[in-house]
Amino acid sequence: MNPLPRGRPRPVTALVAANLRRLTRDRVGLFFIVIMPFVSIVFVGMAIGGATGAAGLPVGVVADERDPVAAAVLAELRGHPDLEVVPVDTPDGLRSGVREGALAAGLVIPSGSTRLELVLAQANGSGMAARSAVDVSVGRVAAVLEATRAARAAGAGEAQAAEYVRQAQAEGGRVAVTDVATGGGDPGGFAYTAPANLLLFTFINSMAVAAALVESRRLGMLQRALTAPVPRRSVLFGEVVSRFLVAAAQAVLIMVVSSLAFGVSWGDPFAVAVVVGVFALVATGAAVLVGTLLRSPDQAPAIGPPLGVVLGMLGGCLWPREASGEVINAIGHAFPHAWGMDALLALARPGTGLGAVLPEVAVLTGMAVLLLGGSLIVFDRRTRIT
C-alpha cells in the first residue's frame, strides 16, 4: 500500500461543515430559520402598528400652509426623497399616529412661530431616520430665513445675500426642534418586532438544532470522531462553533432583511454586533447544554422551542413589554431575552453606542459564560475517556 499524504487533521472544519450541511438538509428547520421569523415580524409588527404601506417614511405634519415658515418647511419635506408627508389635523392626532406606529414621526408647525415640535417614539428606528431627514429640511429653511433677514438688515444686494445664506446655514439651529416622546418607552411596529424576533428565533432555533447534537451522540458520531487523531477539545469546539454559527447567521439574516425590507434601523453596527454576538453565545451555550443532557433527538424540539417561547414572552419578544406589566418584566430580567431587548432597543436610539449598553452586555456575557461553561463541563463528562 502506498502511503497517503497527511496534513493536519481538521476536526473543527469537518464538524462545522458537516453540521451546517446537515442543517441545510432539514427543510423544517430551514423554514423556522429563514421564513418564520419574518412572518412573525410582519404580522406582529402590523398588529402593533408597523404596517404603513408608504413608499417613504410617513411624517405627519400639523401646519397651516398659508404660514410662510410652514409652507417653506412643507416644501422641503415634500422634496425629501425618503419622506412622505401626511397632513394631520391636530397635534393629538399626530401623537396618536406616532404612538401607534402609523407615522414614523410627526411635526407641529405653529403659525407665526419658528419653534417647531417634533414628535417621535423613543428608540424607534424609523422615527430616528425620519428625524434625521426632518432636521435636514428644517435646517435648510432656517438658513434661508436667517439669510433673508440678515440681507434685509444690511441692505445687501442679491450676490451678497448668497453669502449671508451660507452663513445663515451654519446658524440654522436658531430654529429649534423640540423632541417629544409619545410612546413613553419602547417603539412600535417593525422597530420593535425585528429585535424581538431576532432574539426569539436566534434562541429558539439554537435550541431546535440541539437535536442534531443529540442525534450525533446517539449515532455514536462523537465517539467515532474521538477515535481519530484529534484532541478531544477540538471535537467539543467544533460542535460549539457549529451551533454558534447557526445562531449568528439567524441574527444576521434578520438584521439584514429587516433593514432592507422594513426600514428598521439597528443603530451603531459595532455595538449591535457585540450585543447580538454575546446573545448568540448565550443561545449556543443553552443549545449545547440541552443537546448534551437530552437522551433522544425527539426531546430537543419538544423541550427547546417551548422553553425559548416562554423566555421570549418574559423578555418581551412576543408582544410589547408595556403589555406585560412590571412583575413579568422584572421576572424576565432573570433571563437573557429581556437584557437583549434592553440593549437592542437602546442602540436603536440615535447617538447611542456600546457605552450605553455595557450593563446589558455584561449581564449577557455572564449568562453566556455560565451556560457555555456548564454545557462544556457536562459535554466533557459525557464524552470523557475513562
Partner: protein, 312 residues
Amino acid sequence: MTATLTCEGLRKRYGDVTAVEDVGFSIAPGQAYGLLGPNGAGKTTTISILVGLLRPDAGTVLVGGTDLAADPRRAKAAIGYVPQEIALYPELTGRENLRFFGRLFGLPRRALAARIEEVLDLIGLTDRADGRLDTYSGGMRRRINIGAALLHRPAVLILDEPTVGVDPQSRKAILDGLELLVREGMSLLYTSHYMEEVERICDRVAIIDHGRIIAEGTRRELIAMVGTADKVELVLDGDVPAAFAKLRAVEGVVEAARTEDGSVRLIAEGGRYLLPALITAVEGSATVTATQVIEPDLEATFLHLTGASLRD
C-alpha cells in the same frame, strides 16, 4: 517485523465488575485476527481500549510500536475503527460522510478526493455516492461505515460486528473487500457473531469469555482442542434401552448418552463413516428414523470452551 497491533495485560473494571482481565494478543502485518466471544464477554470493551475510547486500568497497547497511552494521536492515525452501530450522518451523502472522516484524519483536499473515489470503488458504492445515507439500504450503510475507516489507509482495521443486519449480497461484498485489504497487507481485528465469517477471513482467533482470553490459535489449532471425534445423533423407534446398549458397544464410540425424547447422542471417532455400522447394530431392537452428524468446527470449539452458543 514489528507487530501492527499488540496489547498486553489489559484490565478494565467497573466497580466490582471485571470487564476484561489480562487480555493480550498480537496482530502481524497483513494478518486477520478474530476475536470471538458471547455477548458481554468483553469484546467491545477490549476494542474500545484498543481504539482509545476507554482507558485501561492496566496493560499496554502498541500500534506499530507506538504506545497508545503515550502518543495517542500517532497511534490513532494508524487505526481504522468500524463501530458496531452505523456511526454516520444520515442527512449527508455517502461521499460527504467519507469527506468528513477524511478531514478528521487530515487528508489534504486533493488526496482526499482521490481516496474517496478509491474507497467508493472498493466498497462498490461509486454509483450511489451522492445519495443521502438515509436512502441507503442497511447493507449500503454498513459498507460506507467500513469505508469511512479506510480513507486514511490504516495499518490495522478494527471491526466490531461489521455485518450485523446485512443482506447476503452486501455481506459477500464486505467480506470480499476485507479479504482484498488483507492481501494488500492491511491487518484486521475482526469480531462477529457469524462463525463462518471468522473461519473464512481470520488467520488466528482468540476466544474471549468473562473478560479473559480462554483460547487462542489458528482455526486448526482451536478445533483440535475439542478432538477429531464427530457428534452423532440417532433418533430411535423401538426398544431404545436395548438399542442404546448395542450402540455403546460399537467400536469407535467414545461417549454415549440418551435423551428424554428417545434419541441417542454419541461421540465417535470418524462418526460420519461409522453410520452404517451404527444402524446395523440396533437392528432387532429398534429402527433408526433420523440421523445427524456434527463435525468439529470453530462453533463446536466455542461451545466446548464457553458452554454457550456464539449467538446466545
